[in-house]
């Protein structure tokens, strides 16, 4: 059975570099070494095998499926470079999270025992040594006792002890009949490689035409039996609910381990006490304050966390797991909504209690309009997180505040033609929806405002999906 199939795959990354007409298959039971000098395209090839990058032409199959299908990774483990688990989660919690992505995982104890990390349950990733980090990556790779293990330059950063550990793990995997594709150029590992390898593929970049091709494919050993591997179908539908619950739990852990941010969530609403207790102004001031507070958290919270996780390599790690991106995004949106609900409840409660705002029984309508109307902006934050770096997301959030205030009623010197464009701003429609909910004067086009916000949510959603699919997301 072919676990990896590449048919005439080409990918051009620049004028002077591209993969050209790569065809290869890797069968069950093989231990294949992929060699080549730096810049020969080994990592690009791995990215395409994992579906992190798409070929310009040709076809890639992983375990008989398109690598973009999360199910193709149900029985594939990987140890890659430039990936990092989230820093606010402990080793055991992280392994439990990772297990939830697979249909039939090993137990947490089995996984940690297999890589000798039993005493490190409560360590954060940053506190692990280089060898322990490598072992943790290995733990993730074997979480589902994979059929295929893909390893990218695994011993590059390891000391002698780490290398010893690593080769023990690899030998154990071979004894279990796991097929291995390893990218390596380490000459110090030659003896170990020669003892285990069944095949050696060499990639070479030609300076003259800028194309990288397979120049050698040698059989150097016998394929081992994989009879002791448990077989199960990867066609079974994925169970999203446990994945979503575990992912949401991990997101909440990250939130509660960031006390400064948590304090900010509680302190910002408390500033409502600075509003003037003036009967004529206080309602509109409270609505402005609530709207700005919600918009800030909606755009900044989700945008910054996605941008940070993308730049740290956590998203790349997720993409090589069977976790569908929708589950990851749904967990982020759920946590953001929870933050916004707490924030808004505090503002409305303090507004009613401390400065005596009267809403004449309209509190539920105000609350619902403010929360439902902010959903398109949460999606905007998501799109920004995939498009920009963390610092830029923060600045864009900052700049969106005067824009929102201007389109919702702050008079700034602007020509009539600019003022005519205000109705195209989703902030304007959000503002009008909120005014309606509070029973205040608005322009009487409620349905149009609702329609516009739904439309804005769709556009931001499509933008987020496109940004997610962009190749550069994983290459930065």
């Amino acid at each position: 059975m072919n676990l990896i199939e590449l048919n005439n795959v080409s990918k051009r990354l620049s004028q002077s570099f591209g993969l050209d007409g790569i065809s290869m298959t890797i069968k069950q039971g093989e231990f294949v070494i992929l060699k080549g000098k730096n810049g020969s395209g080994k990592s690009t090839l791995l990215n395409m095998i994992f579906g992190l990058d798409r070929p310009d032409s040709g076809e890639v199959k992983l375990d008989g499926r398109s690598p973009q299908d999360p199910k193709s990774k149900n029985r594939v483990g990987a140890v890659l470079q430039t990936v990092t688990p989230p820093k606010d989660i402990k080793v055991k919690e992280f392994v439990e999270l990772w297990r939830s992505y697979y249909p039939k995982p090993l137990s947490t104890e089995e996984i940690l025992h297999a890589v000798d990390l039993k005493g490190k349950h409560d360590y954060f990733f940053d506190k692990l040594s280089g060898g322990e980090k490598q072992r943790l990556y290995f733990a993730l790779a074997i979480a589902d006792l994979p059929k295929l293990l893909i390893v990218d330059e695994p011993t590059k950063e390891l000391d002698a002890e780490g290398k010893q550990d690593f080769w023990e793990q690899i030998t154990r995997c071979r004894e279990q009949g796991i097929t291995i594709l390893m990218v390596t150029n380490e000459s110090s590992d030659r003896e170990k490689i020669e003892a285990l390898t069944t095949r050696c593929i060499t990639l070479e970049w030609n300076k003259e035409d800028g194309k990288s091709k397979i120049v050698a494919d040698e059989i150097v050993g016998n394929i081992t039996s994989s009879a002791n591997q448990e077989e199960y179908s990867t066609d079974e539908p994925q169970n999203f609910i446990p994945m979503l619950l575990r992912q949401t739990w991990a997101e909440s852990l990250k939130l509660f381990r960031n006390p400064i941010y948590l304090l900010g969530i509680l302190l910002l609403p408390c500033m409502v006490v600075f509003l003037t207790p003036d009967e004529n102004k206080v309602n509109i001031q409270l609505l402005f304050f609530a709207g700005i507070s919600l918009l800030t958290f909606a755009i900044e919270r989700i945008g910054s966390t996605v941008a940070n996780e993308r730049s740290e390599g956590w998203l790349k790690l997720l993409r090589i797991s069977p976790l569908p991106p929708t589950v990851y995004l749904a967990a982020k949106i759920l946590i953001s909504l929870a933050i916004l609900i707490v924030n808004l409840l505090l503002i409305l409660y303090l507004g009613a209690w401390r400065i005596g705002v009267q809403a004449d029984g309209r509190w539920v309508t105000i609350f619902s309009s403010l929360i439902l109307g902010v959903i398109p902006f949460i999606i905007l934050g998501l799109a920004l997180g995939y498009l920009f770096k963390p610092k830029s997301v923060n600045v864009i959030t900052g700049l969106s505040i005067p824009f929102a205030l201007f389109t919702c009623g702050l008079p700034l010197p602007a020509p009539k033609s600019v003022q005519d464009l205000i109705p195209f701003s989703p902030f304007y429609h959000y503002g009008q929806l909120v005014l309606w909910s509070a029973g205040m004067e608005y322009d009487n086009y409620l349905l149009l405002h609702m329609f516009w916000l739904v439309w804005a949510g769709c556009i931001f959603g499509f933008l987020a999906v496109w940004a997610y699919q962009r190749d550069e997301v994983v290459q930065r």
């Binding site: 290869m24 494919d217 959030t397 464009l421 195209f424 322009d443 499509f462 999906v465």
Partner: protein, 113 residues
Amino acid sequence: MESQPEKSTSPSQAGKNTSLFDFEKPIVKVMGVGFLFILLITVFFTITRGSDFCVFTIGSCTDISHRVNEPMAVVGVVAGVTAAVALTFIELPAAMAVGVGVLVWWLVNSLVN
């Protein structure tokens, strides 16, 4: 080495998978139709501006009523917003920057009134 290409792909497919303007993708079709719709409404608002022909009225016939119209109140808001935006440029998280902006707005408001 494996045998040479079993399936060939036409050169026109090169780059298709990553292009934003691949009109065969449903997502791009929907976005295209949406943008045309927005363009149509923009033209409508522009050509009916200032006339009595009002269907939607917003932005064309009706003057959008600004609710903050006391100059002194505007000074406070502008100061607060400027402080918030400036702080995001020096990498303070936006939520904290808005908090500081609210404080500045309150201080300026207290001083001018």
